[in-house]
């Protein structure tokens, strides 16, 4: 065993303590932090987009302004939640009066905050629990500003006329003036023709409102204007039907109380929560991770076995350990390499969730609860290692019959096909874990681990799982012996065997 661990440690050290891996370890969180910072910076530094509304009906510009204000209020509330998570202790924040305590972002909460005195009142409420050195709360900058536009627009007689007046501004040949007197480029123009609306006609027959912008990728304003006009027309329609305009807002704010339950639990525990959702997604995540690890470490096993073979190190090793110990040491060492990265992410996430306090815990808490409290975790680990052993042995055997990566290529194509073949079917197993495809894949030994991992949470028939697992284990034992013989017999051959000789190497104990 000591020898196996020595070999495993050498393999592990070779990759994990390599300069490249350590650089990656340092660079990854830095890169992630840098990316987050860059995204935040990009968002903050995005200039306020200035636009013009030419409204022949005179009704809709205000609707658009209202939607801009509404969205700004929601993003301010979101910023408040983040501010609380970053600068107040979680428990103390939870104890704040209702609209100020961390909660979901909604129009109702925005209204409640206004009624409770706005964010100034909120800041007063958290003054005692604020962490030392915390900056004051600042609302995010507005993203959009509607301006009156050029003076000549007032003289426009039609939408076409307005468009031709605005075109040089939209092409940034000329600038418009913002409310604070600063000049700015015109980001977009909204042209609303006479007759737009639902007053006396059906909406389909009414002329279209037009959105003009040179920027085709940033569609935030386009979406906002579309939503604002939708809401306005719905309100008009409601009014035409005899309802007050405000009634539609009340109707739109209605969210049906809706809860999901699972029948395999007692009534009081049956309601689905975030942890349940995470548990459902975990098999798919682990299957994906398994594929990534198999692919990643498979290549490591391959290159490193080829190195030992072509550098003639293997015979010295085999005079010190058996071929079986060598194989086992390599499998353990490289498996540890494969698991190091997910482990680092896992513990990094854990550290991150602790550092982020309530905000992080609300997001990552259910993930860790699902990972560490689920009885399924051991099952996943068992199948994870079975699948790893099966595929890693295949890579080892390929390494043993190849003197170079070029030699290995001829075997790698079919193996990769084999590894990734179940991927298209996995979505079917995920959606219908006890269907025909799921059953079929369960009984194919090399795919049993994938299929069982995907099905484990869906209570598949026990006999099927036990039977397929027994078949898989028997297959794994035969495969390991078969490939082990190829490894032992081929690894000492001075020239790599031809593909047709590989079968012969496995059949007889040629060593």
């Amino acid at each position: 065993m000591k020898q196996i661990l020595l070999i495993a440690w050498r393999e592990y050290k070779q990759y994990v303590l390599s300069r490249g891996f350590l650089i990656f370890l340092v660079m990854f969180p830095l890169g992630l932090a840098g990316l987050t910072a860059a995204m935040g910076f990009a968002e903050r530094s995005k200039p306020t987009r200035v636009f013009v509304v030419y409204d022949e009906t005179g009704q809709y510009a205000d609707e658009i302004d209202r939607e801009i204000e509404r969205r700004h209020a929601l993003s301010t509330l979101n910023a408040w939640n983040i501010y609380l998570a970053a600068y107040t202790p979680a428990e103390a924040a939870e104890a704040l009066p209702a609209p100020f305590a961390p909660d979901g972002v909604s129009d109702a909460r925005v209204k409640a905050i206004e009624e409770a005195g706005g964010y100034a009142a909120g800041e007063a409420a958290i003054a005692d629990i604020l962490r030392p050195g915390a900056p004051p709360f600042t609302a995010p900058r507005g993203q959009f500003e509607r301006v009156a536009g050029p003076a000549e627009l007032a003289a426009a007689s039609s939408v076409e006329d307005a468009e031709s007046i605005l075109r040089p501004y939209l092409l940034e040949e000329r600038g418009v003036v913002r409310a604070d007197g600063e000049a700015a480029p015109l980001f977009a123009a909204v042209l609303i023709p006479q007759g737009f609306g639902v007053s006396n006609e059906t909406v389909e027959d009414a002329p279209s409102a037009q959105y003009w912008s040179r920027n085709l990728t940033d569609t935030a304003l386009e979406d906002l204007v579309g939503n604002a006009l939708d809401a306005a027309l719905k309100r008009e329609a409601a009014e035409a039907m005899g309802l007050p305009r405000a009634a539609l807002d009340d109707v739109a704010a209605i969210a049906a109380p809706f809860e999901a339950y699972r029948p395999d639990r007692e009534a009081e525990e049956a309601q689905l929560d975030t942890q349940d959702r995470v548990e459902t997604l975990m098999p798919a995540a682990l299957t994906y991770m398994l594929l990534v690890i198999i692919f990643g470490v498979g290549n490591l096993l391959l290159t490193n076995t080829i190195e030992e073979r072509s550098n003639k190190i293997v015979e010295i090793l085999l005079s010190s350990v058996t071929a079986g110990q060598l194989m086992m040491g390599k499998l353990i060492g490289i498996a540890a390499v494969g698991l190091t990265m997910p482990a680092i992410f896992l513990f990094g996430g854990l550290a991150g969730s602790v550092a982020l306090g309530a905000g992080g815990a609300s997001f990552l808490g259910p993930v860790f609860a699902a990972l560490f409290s689920s009885p399924l975790l051991l099952i996943y680990l068992f199948y994870f290692f079975c699948a790893y052993a099966i595929f890693a042995m295949i890579f080892l055997a390929i390494g043993a019959v190849s003197n170079s990566l070029q030699d290995a290529q001829s075997y790698m194509g079919p193996v990769m096909l084999l590894v990734f073949a179940p991927l298209p079917f996995m979505i079917m197993v995920f959606e219908n874990p006890n269907g025909f495809i799921a059953s079929l894949l369960t009984w194919i030994p090399i795919y049993t681990p994938y299929a069982v991992m995907m099905r484990a949470a869906a209570d598949p028939p026990l006999w099927e799982i036990v039977g397929a697992t027994a078949l898989m284990l028997a297959f794994a034992i035969v495969l390991v012996r078969f490939l082990g013989r190829i490894f032992r017999n081929a690894i000492l051959q001075s020239s790599p065997p031809k593909a047709r000789e590989v079968w012969r190497l496995a059949r007889r104990d040629a060593a």
Binding site: Q14, N311, I313, E315, I316, S319, S320, S494, A511
Partner: protein, 318 residues
């Protein structure tokens, strides 16, 4: 400790229809240097791998350090294969320590020993250098040191001189002699006769997977006719006519020719000299010579040495 650290009895190794080693038996005595001689592809490497239990014999019995399998005593064995390498990215001292640890030394002891050996063999300053940065000669030294770092009782060296420059060959000869002086048993295979002649107490000649000879150099010589080198203006036929002469071979022609005269096993060279004088033959050179190991090797494995292709199949199959 056994008196016969290595014993093979009727060992055969077949690869399919091809027999790499056929019914081979020999024994190595404690503390001796045992030469394992044969042309390329004669079955030397296969035999050594069987000794180490890296490959299993088809038939026969092998005993190494009193055990039926070298696996259980591998910590007491040092093995230097013919084709050897090092991990390119590993440091020299780490390489020696790694192989010593695989053979049973503790981490601290292996490290200490690795540095001490590198110092002793003049590579102290390269202890922390990666193997890929070492010259070929240095890397070969590191491989050798990795073989002896765990202080094995039995050293098995497969073609240890191949690829070594003359300085390293000398270092290796000295190392082998020192190891023997330390009481270790050493088996080494080679097809370079000079090394075997200088170092071996006993040797075995193998060809086509079969034993052709086992014993000391003087025992080998005893089995061959004595040779006399003479220079004379007389024709070869004049010497062939003398009693006790097996053959006369012209080495160099001219007014006076050099001949290699082979006498029968019981013939006395002095008697040959008397007969030549009595026959009126004038000799300007008369020199007695025993058969060299090279002569013996060529005589015993000559056909193999000249046509190694058959044996090379075994090497390829190994």
């Amino acid at each position: 400790m056994t008196d016969l650290p290595v014993q093979l009895e009727n060992v055969t190794k077949r690869y399919g229809a091809f027999t790499a080693v056929n019914d081979l038996s020999f024994a190595v005595k404690q503390g001796e240097i045992y030469g394992f001689l044969g042309p390329n592809g004669a079955g030397k490497t296969t035999t050594l791998r069987m000794l180490l239990d890296i490959v299993q014999p088809t038939r026969g019995r092998i005993s190494v350090l009193g055990s039926n399998s070298a696996i259980s005593v591998r910590r007491r064995i040092g093995y230097l294969p013919e084709e050897r390498g090092l991990y390119r990215k590993m440091k020299a001292a780490d390489s020696i320590a790694y192989f010593a640890r695989l053979r049973g030394l503790s981490g601290a002891a292996a490290k200490k020993r690795a540095h001490a050996l590198l110092e002793e063999f003049g590579l102290g300053e390269f202890a922390r250098a990666k193997n890929e940065a070492l010259s070929k000669g240095m890397a070969q030294k590191v491989q050798l040191l990795a073989t002896i770092a765990h202080e094995p009782e039995l050293l098995i060296l497969d073609e240890p001189f191949s690829g070594l420059d003359p300085i390293n060959q000398q270092t290796l000869e000295q190392l082998i002699a020192d190891q023997r002086a330390g009481g270790r048993t050493i088996i080494f295979s080679t097809h370079v006769m000079q090394h075997a002649e200088r170092l071996c107490d006993r040797f075995l000649i193998i060809a086509k997977g079969e034993k052709r000879f086992e014993g000391t150099l003087s025992e080998a010589r005893a089995g061959f006719g004595r040779h006399i080198h003479v220079r004379s203006s007389a024709p070869a036929a004049a010497f062939e006519a003398l009693s006790g002469v097996l053959s006369v071979r012209l080495e160099r022609g001219g007014d006076e020719s050099d001949y290699d005269v082979e006498l029968s096993e019981n013939a006395d060279p002095q008697d040959f000299l008397h007969q030549a004088i009595a026959a009126g033959l004038v000799l300007t050179r008369f020199e007695q010579a025993g058969a060299t190991l090279h002569d013996i090797f060529v005589a015993l494995a000559g056909d193999e040495a000249l046509a190694p292709h058959e044996g090379a199949r075994a090497e390829a199959a190994e």
